[in-house]
C-alpha cells in the first residue's frame, strides 16, 4: 500500500459518511472536521471504518494527531507495516 492508496481509501471512506463533502477541493492540510463539517459522531464513524478497512486503530489519545487529511494519511502510513512510500 502506498500513501496515495491510503489517501484514495480515506477519500472513499469520508464520502461514505458525508456523501456531499466537497473532497476534491479539500486542502489536505486544513482541519478536516471543520472543512467537511464532520461532527464527533461522523469522525468516530470515520475512525471505525478506517479500523475495519485499513486495519489501523487510532486510540483516543491520538485524535489530536489526525486533524487533517494529510496528517491522517501520515499517521496511517506510520502505523501500517506494509506502506512503501514511493510517491514523494
Amino acid at each position: 500500500m502506498s500513501t496515495q492508496d491510503i489517501k484514495t481509501s480515506l477519500c472513499r471512506l469520508i464520502l461514505q459518511i458525508a456523501p456531499e463533502a466537497d473532497i476534491d477541493s479539500l486542502d489536505p492540510r486544513a482541519d478536516m472536521r471543520d472543512e467537511l463539517d464532520l461532527d464527533s459522531m461522523d469522525f468516530l464513524r470515520l475512525l471505525t471504518s478506517i479500523d475495519k478497512e485499513i486495519q489501523v486503530n487510532i486510540p483516543e489519545s491520538d485524535y489530536g494527531q489526525v486533524n487533517s487529511l494529510q496528517a491522517l494519511t501520515e499517521y496511517i502510513a506510520k502505523h501500517r507495516p506494509d506502506v512503501s512510500d514511493n510517491t514523494e
Binding site: P19, R33, D37, D39, S40, M41, L44, K52, N57, E60
Partner: protein, 410 residues
C-alpha cells in the same frame, strides 16, 4: 375497519410520498410491523402499524404525495369479523407485481435518494378514481404531479394506462421531454425543509412564552470516567461524551415532570416516560428530531448505541415513525465544534428544549483556588405557561449533580 392515514413526522410536515408499500392487500400485520416507507423532506421513514389485523385495501399508490391525515390504507382489525364485501385474501393482481414489470427506474433522477416513481399502473389500481376530463382519463397522482410541475396534460391525446388513461409515468415523460431531464421536486426539498422549519419555529415563538436559563457544568469527572471506559475498547465500543450528557438529562427529567410532556389544546399533559428527542443536523442542510425511547432507563453504553444507530439512520434513511412522533423533550447538541452556548426554540407541542454547547477549558475557582476545568454550558429553554425559572434551575442543577457523579448514570 380502521383507516391508516398519512402520518405526521413532526409539526413541520405537511405531506409525504409513499415511496414503497411493504404490504399488499391480504397481508397479515402485527403491531409494530412496517407497512410502508414514506418519503419526506427528512428522508425515507418507515411507517409502523399500531394494531394487529389484515391489510384490506391500499388507498394510495407508490409515488403519490399525500397530505398528512389523509387515508392511505384500510386495515381490518384482528378482533373484528371480516365481512364478505371486503377484499379477497389473494387479489388476482397484487399491486406490487404489476409495478415490477414497469420501467420504474426510467425516470428516476440521478440522485439516488430521489423519491421513486413507480406508478406505471396507478390508474388501474384506482379505476374508480379516474377523472373523466373531456374524453381523457387521468389518474389522481398524474393530475397532481402535472399541477406540481406546471405541465398541461391536456396536450396528451392518450396515456399509457388502461383505456388510454394518463398515468404518472406519462407526466414524467412529458416533464423529461420539456427539460431534457426529469425534474422531481427533490431539487427544492431543502427549500421545502427550510419553509417547514420556518413555520414551526414561528409558531413556537408566537405561541410559547419561552424563558431561558443556562449553567456551566464541570466535566472533569465525566471525562475521566469516559477516558477510563474507552481505554482499550474497540472503535465500535467507544463512547462519546454526548452519551453521558444525554443520560444525565434523561435521568434528571423524571423528577421534573413539568419539562417532559405536551402542551395541547390549552392544557399541559406531563409524560411519565422520557422519550428524548435528539436534534440531528443533516448533511446538506436541515434538521430532524428523532426520539430515543425510554431514555431514562438507558445506561451510557446503551445510549451510545442508540445515538450511533439513530444518526446513521437519520442521514441514510430508515428512521421509524414512532421515533419521529414520540419525543417528549428535545436535546440540541451543538457538538464539540459548535459555540459555547445556544438559546433554543421549543419544538411544539413539547414544553422544553435543552441545548449543549461545546466542551471547553476555562479558569475555574474551587475553594478560592483557580484551576483549569473542562466545562460545558447547558442551556434550558422552557414554556413559562407550564413551569417557572425556579424549577428550571433545579433541573439544571440535577443534571450537573449527575455529571459530577457519572457512576449514578449506570
Amino acid at each position: 375497519m380502521k383507516q391508516l392515514t398519512m402520518p405526521s413526522f413532526g409539526a413541520d410536515m405537511a405531506t409525504g410520498i409513499i415511496a414503497q408499500w411493504k404490504v399488499q392487500p391480504g397481508d397479515k400485520v402485527q403491531k409494530g410491523d412496517i407497512v410502508a416507507s414514506i418519503d419526506t423532506m427528512k428522508g425515507l421513514i418507515d411507517m409502523e402499524v399500531f394494531d394487529d389485523g389484515v391489510i384490506n385495501k391500499l388507498l394510495a399508490a407508490e409515488g403519490e404525495d399525500i397530505e398528512v391525515g389523509q387515508p392511505i390504507a384500510q386495515l381490518t382489525l384482528a378482533d373484528e369479523p371480516r365481512s364478505a364485501t371486503e377484499a379477497p385474501k389473494h387479489p388476482q393482481a397484487p399491486l406490487g407485481q404489476k409495478s415490477i414489470s414497469a420501467p420504474k427506474d426510467k425516470h428516476q433522477s440521478r440522485n439516488p435518494s430521489a423519491p421513486r416513481v413507480d406508478l406505471a399502473s396507478d390508474s388501474d389500481r384506482f379505476p374508480e378514481d379516474n377523472e373523466v376530463a373531456g374524453r381523457r382519463r387521468i389518474s389522481p397522482a398524474a393530475r397532481q404531479k402535472a399541477a406540481e410541475l406546471a405541465i398541461d396534460w391536456r396536450q396528451l391525446q392518450t396515456g399509457s394506462g388502461p383505456q388510454g388513461a394518463i398515468v404518472l409515468d406519462d407526466i414524467m415523460t412529458m416533464a423529461k421531454a420539456s427539460t431534457g431531464e426529469a425534474h422531481y421536486p427533490e431539487a427544492d426539498s431543502s427549500q421545502q425543509m427550510r419553509e417547514a422549519i420556518a413555520a414551526v419555529v414561528s409558531r413556537s415563538k408566537r405561541d410559547i412564552p419561552h424563558y431561558y436559563l443556562q449553567q456551566d457544568i464541570q466535566l472533569d469527572n465525566a471525562l475521566a470516567w469516559l477516558a477510563e471506559y474507552n481505554q482499550g475498547r474497540t472503535m465500535d465500543e467507544r463512547m462519546l461524551l454526548s452519551a453521558l450528557l444525554y443520560c444525565a438529562i434523561a435521568k434528571a427529567l423524571p423528577s421534573f415532570p413539568q419539562f417532559n410532556g405536551f402542551y395541547l389544546q390549552g392544557r399541559y399533559q406531563a409524560q411519565e416516560l422520557v422519550h428524548l428527542g435528539n436534534a440531528i443536523s443533516l448533511h446538506g442542510g436541515g434538521l430532524m428530531v428523532a426520539a430515543i425511547h425510554h431514555a431514562q432507563q438507558l445506561n451510557p453504553a446503551q445510549m451510545m448505541l442508540k445515538l450511533r444507530d439513530q444518526v446513521l439512520r437519520a442521514r441514510e434513511g430508515g428512521l421509524r415513525m414512532s421515533e419521529m412522533q414520540d419525543a417528549t423533550i428535545t436535546v440540541s447538541n451543538l457538538g464539540d465544534r459548535g459555540t459555547d452556548s445556544m438559546q433554543s426554540i421549543i419544538f411544539p407541542p413539547q414544553v422544553a428544549i435543552v441545548a449543549l454547547g461545546r466542551q471547553r477549558c476555562v479558569p475555574w475557582v474551587v475553594d478560592e483556588q483557580v484551576s483549569i476545568a473542562h466545562i460545558v454550558t447547558v442551556s434550558l429553554a422552557a414554556d413559562h405557561r407550564v413551569s417557572d425559572g425556579h424549577a428550571g434551575a433545579r433541573l439544571l442543577n440535577k443534571i450537573d449533580h449527575l455529571l459530577q457523579n457519572p457512576e449514578l448514570l449506570i
